[in-house]
Amino acid sequence: MKSIEDLDKLRQKLQQDMQVRQKEHDVKVTVSMGTCGIAAGAREVVQALLEELKEQGLSNVAITQTSCVGFCQNEPLLEVTKDSEKTVYVNIDQDKAREVVRKHLVQGQVIRDWTNPDTQAHRHEEEK
């Protein structure tokens, strides 16, 4: 049974943890949340990310959201910004999102097979 009292216990635990791991958010994970992203399962991806971040105890990751970026056919899209390097993962699902957390965020390995060269090139072009 979950109750509001449980939340107080969780808060106390997190406050203790925070003293140990006082860290800035230095990794950003962005999920596209346009109509196309939502219809393709972006909401489920966000929930899988949250659960895996909790599992892995990662406190330095910020989840942000953006609207349609024009790659509707590749939704759900996930963009990871780590050490100023951006990686765009395409056609992500819940299992892939969890794997991105474990491989990319924990071990630092980019999963190239799930990235799309066209999308990457476009994103870099846009920033120029």
């Binding site: 449980d6 109509t35 939502i38 949250l50 406190s59 959201q65």
Partner: protein
Amino acid sequence: MEDLSQHILDIAFNSIEAGATELTVMIQEDPNHNLFQFKVLDNGRGITPEEIPLILDPFYTTKKCKRVGIGVPLLREAVDRCGGRFEIKPSPLGRGTAVIATFPYHHLDRVPLGDITGTIITLIAGQPHLDLAYHHRRNNSCFDFSAGALRAQLQDIPLHTPEVLVWLKDYLNQKIAELRRETSEEH
């Protein structure tokens, strides 16, 4: 869209893009009177009467990077499919916009509410400062949730901390299941 909660998330994102800092999601389920209704109210920049017919057109969008805007037309189609009623109007709270979708509860083509908890969690995860209120009524019982109240209770721990949101997901799922259980025993 597979469930109405996805439409709610999509409409809520329109609110956020319209600069909303406050968002109220209201759900009313009344099977005895064949009524299912949701409202999304915001305090964003609002909508003019001239804009209302435009946003029902899938080829109208305010965004420059794309040429279609299908979120609102998709919802209207989901409403029309079962002879419901769809309204967009200035919010009764003063500033902002209200989107109201009303369905016959028992219509075979009425999409289920689905994962409303996922919708709330997703909104909070990406919009940590959004003042979100959720009001869910089923028959004569209701469940209310406010992000502001939780923030106050959490003190210096941010509401969008993954551990907190995973807790919140279980909490909301349980409360909404209780609401359904209680009210199904009433008749």
